[in-house]
Symmetry: C2
Subunit: 454 residues, 2 copies
Amino acid sequence: MKPRILVIGGLAAGPSAVSKAKRVNPNAEVTLFERGEYVSYGICEIPYYIGNVVTNPDLLISYTPQKLEQAKGVKVKILHNVEEIIPRKKKILVRDLNKNKVSEYSYDKLIIATGSCPRLLGLKGEEGRNVFPVKTLEQGYSIKQFIEQEKPKKAVIIGGGYIGMEMAEALTKNNIQTTLLHRGELPMSGLEQVSREAVKETLMSHGITFVPKVKVREFRSDSTGRVTEILANTGSYPADLLVLSLGVEPNTELAVGAKINVGARGGILTDQRQATNIDTIFAAGDCCEVKNLVNNRRMYIPLATTASKQGWVAGENAAGGSTVFKGVIRAIAVQVFDLEVAHVGLSAKEAEDSGMDIVTEHIVGNSKIGFFPGNEQVHIVLIADKRSKRLVGANVFGKGGATLRANTLGVAIQQRLTVDEVAQLDLIYSPPYAPLWDPVLVAANQLKKKFSKK
Amino acid sequence: MKPRILVIGGLAAGPSAVSKAKRVNPNAEVTLFERGEYVSYGICEIPYYIGNVVTNPDLLISYTPQKLEQAKGVKVKILHNVEEIIPRKKKILVRDLNKNKVSEYSYDKLIIATGSCPRLLGLKGEEGRNVFPVKTLEQGYSIKQFIEQEKPKKAVIIGGGYIGMEMAEALTKNNIQTTLLHRGELPMSGLEQVSREAVKETLMSHGITFVPKVKVREFRSDSTGRVTEILANTGSYPADLLVLSLGVEPNTELAVGAKINVGARGGILTDQRQATNIDTIFAAGDCCEVKNLVNNRRMYIPLATTASKQGWVAGENAAGGSTVFKGVIRAIAVQVFDLEVAHVGLSAKEAEDSGMDIVTEHIVGNSKIGFFPGNEQVHIVLIADKRSKRLVGANVFGKGGATLRANTLGVAIQQRLTVDEVAQLDLIYSPPYAPLWDPVLVAANQLKKKFSKK
C-alpha cells in the first residue's frame, strides 16, 4: 500500500517537507493542509512589498497551491484547518473552511509545520481595522491596501525588533510619519550595545521617532473601529495606522492537544531527525524549538532558513529516509534604511546566561582598501568565551558586505574556532572587494590582544 | 646586550616583521634593508592607480621609510642592497647604493623577506623603454608616466593571469586598445573551465582582443629602444606599450648563497615558525614556499596576505616569542571589469594531482531574493574529494558578493567540511542581502546529489 504522509501548515517548512517526502518516496501519497488561502510564500519580503521595493505581489509567492501540486506531485488543500490530531488512530480531523465541514484523514506519517503566530498585547481595540501584525501574506496585502486606500499620515509601530526595523523603513517609503515604540532603551535587543546605538541613530536620521522604555497601556479607538491613539507610560501617540511587531510564538495548540512534548520556550521538542515523542509524528519550522550549536541549548529561533531545512529533514525521514538536522548558530541580517546589520551566534548576554565568562571587542574596519572609491566602514563586535577562547558570537554592521562577512564569522563560530584561529583565517585580499586585513581579521587580532593581557 | 634583528626586504613581509619584532621585544635593535626607494606599499593597487581608480599615488604607500621608523621605532635603510649573508659569522654585507659602498652588519637574528621578481621571456628587446612588468611601485609609476607622456594607442599584455586581467582593465580605462596574449586556451589557468570562459567573455565584451595559445617568438624594436611589434606563432601584434604579466618567481639568490634550503618550487623552506634550516635565520613572504592546508603540500603561492602574516610570525619568533603560521588554503579574488572572480582552495587539477578523485558541480544562484532590484547572478563551482566527500576547492564568480561568499567557502575548506556539512551551514537569509538558499547552499546541495548517485 502507498504510505500516506500528511503535512499541516503550508508556509515554509510544510512545502519543503512535502516536496522532499515525495522526492524520497515517489509512491507516497503526500497531502498538505493549510488553513489560509496561500502557501509557500515569503513572509520576509512583505515589508519590501509594502515599501514598494517589490511591486508585483505575485512574486512573493513561490508556489501557488496548483503549481505546488503539479510541480511536486502532492495534494494541497488550502482553507483546510486541522482541528485535532488523534495519534492512537493515526488520524487528523480537518475542517474544510469553504464547506464548513469536518473530515477525517488517516496518515502513516504526520508532519506538523504549524508555524508561529504574532504576539499581541491583549488590549481592547487591538483587532481594529487599522491595526496589523506582519505575519501572513493576507496581513501584508491588507496593510498595502490600507495604505493605498486610506492614505494614513501617521503610523505607530510597537516593537523594535527585526520586523519593526523593516516596517519603519517600509512606512517611511510611503511618506508616512512613523513613531517606533519600544520596551527597551535601544532597539533590537538581541544585538550588542554599540550595534543597537547605531541602529537607533540610523532610525532617527531617517526621520523615525524612536521612543524607548515604553509600556503601552491603552488603545483609544474611534466609532469606526480604528485605533486613533496609543496611550503609554511615556506619553500618548496619535496614529492612522498601527503596526504590531512584538515577535512571534510557536503555534503548538494542536501538538499539545495530541500530547506532543513542548519545551521550556514553548516550542515542540524534536530529535535531530525532527521526530517528536510520538514516533509517527514529525515537526518542523517555527512551531519547534531548535538546538543552538554554540551553547548546545534548545532555543526558540524562528527563521525561514531553519524551517526550510527542517522541512526537508522531516519530509525525508517521514518518507522512509534517514537524515538529521543538527541545529543552528542563528544567523540573521536586517536592513535598517542604509545600515546593514547582521548577527551570528550568541549575544553577550546569552553567552553569559550559558555560563561563560566573556571577552568582547568592537572594531571599525574598511570594506575594501581604505582609499578606494566606494569604501565603507564595517563595524564588527566579537564575543568570545574567556576560558576556551572560542568565538561564540558576532555582530557586523555598516555597509559594503556586513551580511556576507557575518557568514564567514558564522562558519567560524559553528566550527568552534578560537579567536587565534579566526585571526589566522586565510581570507581574500583584493583592492575592490576587501582590504589586506579584512575587518574579520582585524577584529580577531584586536580581541586576541585582550586575551594575552589576562 | 640589545639583540640585533636585521630584516632584508621592505615590501610586505619585511615591514610586518620589523613592526612585530619591535613590539615583542622593545629592547631589540631592529633594522630593515630595502634595495629600492620605497617600502611598505601595495603592489596590488598599482593597476588601479594606472587605471585612475586611485588618483593620488601617495595613497599606495602605507609607510614611508621615515614614518615606519617613527611609528615602529625601527631603522629603515632604503637603497641598501644586501649582497651576501654569512651565517657562520652572523653577518650580512650590504651595499649602500647611494654611496656605492659595502658595509658589514651583525645580527643575532636575520629575517629574509626578499620577495619575488617578475618572470621574463628572455627575448631581445625585453628591457625596452616601453616594456613593463608590474611588480614594483617604481614600475607602476613608470607605466603611469609613460601613458601620460607618450599617450600609447595600442597595448599588448603578455600573460593572462590575475595581473593581466587587472592591467587589461587599467589600460582600457586609459582608452588604450589592448590585446592580451596568453599561452593557454583560456585566461586564468588556476580557475575551472566555466569560470575561465566567463572571464574570456568579459574581456572580449569590454573590447579586449584575447589571443589564446600564444608562443611569443620575437620582439621587434625601433631605433629608440621601443618594442613596436610582438611576433608569435599566432601572428604579429603591433604595440606602443608592452606589459609583461607572466607571474613571479621567488627571490632566493641570497638565501641559496647562504646554503639556506629551498624547495621543489624554488621558494625558501621554513617550518611553521618561519625558521629556515639555519636556526638564526627566518624567512617570510613571496620568497618562501608555503604549506597548502587543503592537501598538506608545499606550494608557491605568493600573496600579500600570506606575506603579512608570515612577517608577523617571523618577527615575533626572531624577537624571542613563540608563534606559528600554519599555512594557507589560497584565497584570491580579482576584478575583471564588471565581473567579480574569486578562487579558494585547490583547483580540480591540483586536487587530482594530489591523488584525489574529484566530483565537481557548477550552479548559478542569486545574490539576493531573485525578484529584488539589484539581484545579480552568482556562479559557484565546487570541487570535492570523492572518497572523503570533503570540499577542497571553489570558484565563485559573477556580481553582488562573489568574493565575500568565497570566504565563507574558504573557511569551510580550511575546516575540512564535507559537502553535506557545507549544505547544512547556517547562513543568513535577508531579502536585500541573500536569498533563502544562499548560492553557497544551493551549490552544496546540488553537489550532494552527485554523491548519493554514486
